[in-house]
Symmetry: C2
Subunit: 443 residues, 2 copies
């Protein structure tokens, strides 16, 4: 396996992509069940490989090169493996994202256009540490009929190799070469340059890592960089609700991208609201950093300019008092990351103004920013969160791994008939229907 060049692997993936696209829903789901079974049946082997990774990581931890958090993310356990197999089965259970007819349109009699979902083709993925990422990404790509290039972190190389080999064996019925493992750091640059062969790159990791990928490839990137999310407590807010939301958005899971980083408070309610939330935050150990007006109400550290643009990922929150809704949206536009922002207000017109004037992937009214998540949105398996605006935005489900093809079923029609002085007009009428072989004759 390791002797093949990256170029050869990508070429194999391209060939496989055309064939995997033709697999039935059932065949893809069955292959996923086989992967889950293989993980269940080979726990010992996986854990043994993972132990090697963990042992090496612990040495680097002692040497001060790795953090404890990295070692924790790396380590597998029987229960973690169980939940990985469970995750694969849940991806198998997802509704097939392929072959859906999005539009069926009669262009003219016996000339029918169908817009159908199809896989994207070859997806390049680059991820750090967690070995479960390899399994999850491979599962999502297989479910959506894509071939996948997998590049994991070197710290997980033993685990990744065993998991990859199990996946390869378990999917013997899937066109050969649909999944490819690459291991050397240098191969990443090769992948990023293959814009003729790879259709989409999905990086997973830190903001810096995703930004690096975006800056170094002309392949479209589906990824998530920063999450500087805001909660704005309006003049007309229910302050008890605002306190609950601001607390949940910061404290429920501070390390994630949809946690709130900056609290904006209308001056009319600041004197009442800030002490309420300060008390809750204090109990949870949240550090508040505020502008002058906030600090005049509740004692806290002074916020620097950098605080307004920082994704703390921790129990820290920046606080600013604003004079108006417009000042709040202006602040968010200037300092936010277009991820998720929420207004708390009882006035639905003001909520609509807030929501309409922000260019964020998710804008909420009277709800915690933490709801911005594929599972909570009901998207099923989450492919990732995108901070781009093109193709897929915000939490992305399996449909983010699809594109579409136009199928035109005719009866010998030529364009000459519909052009020139005696041009026949088009009908252009949508109908309910989906493309199947011979669909024209069936109607």
């Amino acid at each position: 396996m390791t002797e093949k060049s990256t170029e050869a692997k990508v070429e194999e993936a391209q060939t496989a992509a055309l064939r995997i696209a033709g697999l039935s829903d059932e065949a893809r789901a069955d292959a996923l069940e086989s992967i889950a079974d293989a993980i269940d049946a080979n726990r010992e082997e996986i854990l043994a490989a993972n132990e090697k990774d963990v042992a090496e990581a612990e040495q680097l931890l002692e040497a001060g090169e790795y953090t404890q958090a990295l070692v924790d993310r790396l380590e597998l356990s029987p229960s973690k493996l169980e939940s990985i197999a469970e995750m694969v089965r849940s991806v198998a259970d997802q509704e097939d994202p392929l072959g859906k007819t999005q539009t069926a349109r009669e262009l003219d009699e016996d000339l029918e256009l169908y817009k159908n979902t199809v896989p994207i083709g070859v997806v390049g993925t680059i991820f750090e540490s967690r070995p479960d990422a390899l399994v999850q990404i491979a599962a999502l790509c297989l479910r959506s009929g894509n071939a996948v290039i997998l590049k994991g972190g070197s710290e997980a190389s033993h685990s990744n190799r065993v998991l990859f080999e199990l996946i390869e064996e378990a999917t013997a019925d899937v066109p050969d070469g649909w999944a490819q493992l690459i291991e050397a750091r240098a191969d990443v640059d090769t992948v990023l340059e293959m814009d003729d062969s790879i259709d989409l790159v999905m990086p997973r990791g830190s903001s810096e890592f995703v930004s690096y990928i975006q800056d170094n490839t002309s392949i479209p990137v589906l990824g998530h960089t920063e999450g500087v999310c805001h909660v704005y407590v309006d003049a007309d807010a229910d302050l008890s609700m605002a306190t609950d939301i601001a607390y949940d958005a910061k404290v429920q899971y501070p390390a994630v991208c949809n946690a709130v980083e900056t609290l904006l408070v209308h001056e009319d309610v600041a004197e009442e609201f800030l002490p309420m939330i300060a008390e809750r935050y204090e109990d949870a150990g949240v550090e508040m950093r505020g502008d002058e007006a906030s600090r005049a109400i509740v004692p806290m550290e002074e916020a620097s300019d950098a605080d307004w643009e920082t994704e703390y990922g921790d129990l820290v929150v920046a606080v600013r008092v604003v004079e108006s809704l417009r000042e709040a949206t202006g602040h968010i536009t200037a300092h936010g990351s277009k991820h998720t922002d929420s207004i708390v207000t009882d006035d639905s017109d003001r909520a609509a103004r807030f929501m309409r004037s922000l260019d964020s992937a998710s804008v909420f009214h009277n709800a915690s920013t933490r709801f911005a998540d594929g599972y909570r949105y009901g998207l099923g398996a989450e492919v990732g969160i995108s901070t781009g605006k093109i193709h897929a935005r915000g939490p992305v489900g399996l449909e983010g791994l699809t594109t579409y093809q136009y199928y035109l079923e005719g009866d010998g029609q030529i364009v000459g008939t519909y052009a020139g002085a005696d041009a026949k007009p088009f009908v252009h009428e949508d109908f309910d229907g989906s493309w199947t072989p011979g669909s024209l004759s069936d109607r």
Copy 2:
């Protein structure tokens, strides 16, 4: 105007983008009517500016630096101006692509998620010669609520400046700065580097030009490079139909990207079909270039390897005899450009095999490749044709200039309620509805 830096212009466009997104359907349509009226009312001025461009171009034509075709594309006339104004009015008449609720989902009681179409933001456009391109692009961006950076060819600079100023004046009710004209070639590189401020780049011009743009920016590109389209005449084809389709696909308008470049013919029908199409092609002056098997049936030039990958854009067609449907799809996969390919056959299963095994934006059964076009597809105003697979593919209508935002309407919900041991389950049920201010309380 010319004193502002490109960076300042893009920044103005960013500010305007947020505000233009909030304009009503009617306001955007009215602004387009004003543009059309301004073009009608200022024909003299536009034609005078255009004459300067044409005079300069003719000098360069004499010097051998420009082609006659370029001069022809550049030249405006009263009737061309009439059709430009007409085009703007037809864009105004298009259905509003914004504010459409694609999904409305109940996450829980009084917690409703709406996925609504919104403008992309700032669109950078770079186009060559034709002054009508500036008007069309500006009209499409305004209709879809986007701010636009316009960079035309230097050969049309007088025409473009007058048209741009008319558009600016006519859209005084649209947030200031929504359209920006840049004129220097060097500013293109500035634009291509502003990936934090520009959301999408739409280049229009030759394949080489579009490829250059793609290779020199990390901004997503919506563009069209090559069209190497195929017609495959299957063993079960109606040969009279196949002749009509192959003729129309090549002859009806050979200069365009959806014209056929290579004809693939199953060996079972080659002896009967090739003389039929050769006779029709001869009448139209089409040059055929064939492989050995084709030349054994009909005398023609020998096709070189390069012929299989050439977009002639002219009355030339490459011809190859294949042994099987698989050989045909293999040829298309190896040499095609994933634009548009058509099979002629009476066997719908074989048609489906052909259509499913190709990764082209449009795959046809018994129809001319020339149908691959936004107008014929019924998409209304055509934004362009995309040869990418991400975001928009094939002919692209106004919806290609939109993305979506998630709006969540709640009643104070926090994620803590739906997590942990006593987690409340989500409802996740789609309903018919669209987001409006206060939509939660209205249901």
